[in-house]
């Protein structure tokens, strides 16, 4: 402290008529204040600033990482949204497929049923025609057989009485001639 007051006293002994005295600046005090200021700065730098800088840095880091996380989360949300969209699109397409197939199958089934029914109707008509034809043919056959039977019977009855010895001889003669 004496050193300090010593300096303070010497300072009051400064030459008169100086610029500093004009301005009222006591340069000794100024130097001391400057030294004290520098000491303070050095102390701050040594003790306070690191802590301060650290905490600021840490805050900076936290902010950055938070912002990064936010970005990522946003990105994930976007991805998920895209995925969901895609799934929905796929499901729609599948559903369309299934419906279309079902529709086609249904159409095909209806067409098949229709054509079967048509065929069945046609075959009924055809079989009726065939049956009719068959009946006609059967009638023809039985008529033919009946006629043959009657002709044979009639011939037998008639010829029996007509063939006498002479006629018979001629008959035999011509038959043998044919056969030879």
């Amino acid at each position: 402290m004496n050193i300090l007051t010593q300096f303070a006293e010497t300072v009051t002994d400064a030459p008169k008529g100086d610029i500093f005295t004009t301005l009222g600046i006591d340069w000794q005090t100024l130097v001391l204040q400057i030294v004290a200021f520098l000491l303070l700065v050095w102390l701050l730098k040594k003790l306070v600033y690191p802590i301060l800088i650290k905490s600021v840095d840490k805050r900076q880091e936290d902010i950055e990482s938070a912002s990064k996380l936010a970005d990522e989360a946003r990105k994930q949300a976007d991805d998920t949204k895209n995925q969901i969209d895609k799934l929905l699109r796929d499901a729609k397409a599948q559903a369309n497929d299934v419906v279309q197939t079902a529709k086609q199958e249904a159409t095909a089934a209806i067409e098949l049923a229709e054509s079967k029914a048509k065929k069945h109707a046609e075959s009924i008509i055809e079989s009726a025609h065939t049956q009719l034809e068959r009946d006609v043919i059967a009638a023809k056959k039985s008529l033919r057989n009946e006629t043959i039977e009657l002709v044979a019977l009639a011939t037998e009855k008639i010829v029996k009485n007509k063939i006498d010895r002479k006629a018979d001889e001629n008959l035999i003669s011509s038959a043998i001639k044919d056969a030879s």
Binding site: T101, E105, A108, S127, E133, V136, R144, I148, A179
Partner: protein, 508 residues
Amino acid sequence: MSQLSITELSDDLRDAIIGLEKTEGLEKVGIVVRVGDGVAWIHGLRDAGYSEVLQIQTDEGVVEAFALNLMEDEIGAVLLGDDSHVRAGSKVKLSGEILEVPIGPELLGRVVDPLGNPIDGGPAIKTKLTGKVEREAAGVMDRRSVYEPMMTGIMAIDAMFPIGRGQRELIIGDRQTGKTALAIDTMINQARTKSGVVNVYVAIGQKQSKVARLVDRLKQEGVMDQTIIVATSPADPASLLYMAPYAATAMGEYFRDNGGHALMIYDDLTKHAVAYRQMSLLLRRPPGREAYPGDVFYLHSRLLERSAKLSDKLGGGSLTALPIIETQAGDISAYIPTNVISITDGQIFLETDLFYQGIRPAISAGLSVSRVGGAAQTKAIKSVGSHLKLSLSQFRELASFAQFGSDLDEDTRSQIDRGQRLTELLKQPQYDPMSIWEQYASIAAITEGIFDKVVIKKIKDAQIALITRLNADHKKLMTELDKGDKPSEEIQKIITKVATAVAKGFEG
């Protein structure tokens, strides 16, 4: 509609009466010494030839017979009609001809007996030509190797045991296993694919109700127009049953010899052998194994040798045969089955077990074979068929392990899986033959793994869906495939795409 024409009738009768005016000269005559069980023993007729037709005069008209036993003192002739009017002492004349039947396109659409007489109630059949019932088969130089496919429409057969035109493929199995059903589906497929193949179905000793049902079904499917049915019932004399397949073959040979293609179905040859055995025993020929006569092999070999693919010089026609044999209790090592297996170019073996498991057609992939194989397969099916056969044979080996489920390694499990899918795929309903493109698409979907995720029970549904889609969206391209050539990249891609889309709808 035919008219009840009196003119026609009277012309007919006039002709019959005019025919009486002429007297035949002295004709050789024999006498029936004894008759019974469809066999007449005749004395005289010293010049009768083997298998010559004899005409027995009875009060009810002429009954035909053919001479099968030519002995020193008498002839054993088998009657071709009812023996109730034939009496001992009846006169017998020679006809001078070996047995012939009417042949020609006039028979198409008709049901006839082995003598060519219609039994469908329709008008009499007048053909321009007759063919010998017993005829020699084509010689070696007259033939060509089988190379054209005969599509049956049944996926299991067309993919694994393909049949060619001119081949003989035996269908063998126990009763009620679907033998006739296979044959019918093949006939229907010929009509559906407009292949131009004429079907000749020989019903040997089949119930008349069965034949009637068959005729109805063929009419419904529009197949009757290109089919001839030669039908004999169990009530017919054994001689008609014996003759039926030969007579029908003569009818089929007409088409073969004129550059056309015909398919013979003999249903079934077991009854044929039994009828022949009956006839031989009544003719007092010595019985052999199982009481069959010694020439029972020759009975079937000379019949089946007539089915052939002719050389181009002779018109390139073919006669394909699908004989059917019924086994007892799955015994394919019995006398008649082994005989016929050794004659034919392969067999399709139907198993009762498979049938009752629901696998229909109940084709045993292990025991069935086609000795013509790939040479007669369409290129399209060939490209997927080999995978099919291989996968199924691998599956068969592993089938007994299927119950272990998750204890197996990945490979084994996938093989079993694939095999189960294929087995499911090869099931096919009756009267529903599949065209070439349908078969190709279905098999490709499984062998390429596209349907691997489809639930096994839903494989058939997925297949139907696939075919419906392809038919609706790409019909033109698919019908290209029906030509039989290997499918182009484009078609393959389309099928893969559609199959993938369809598969999603049936995933488990």
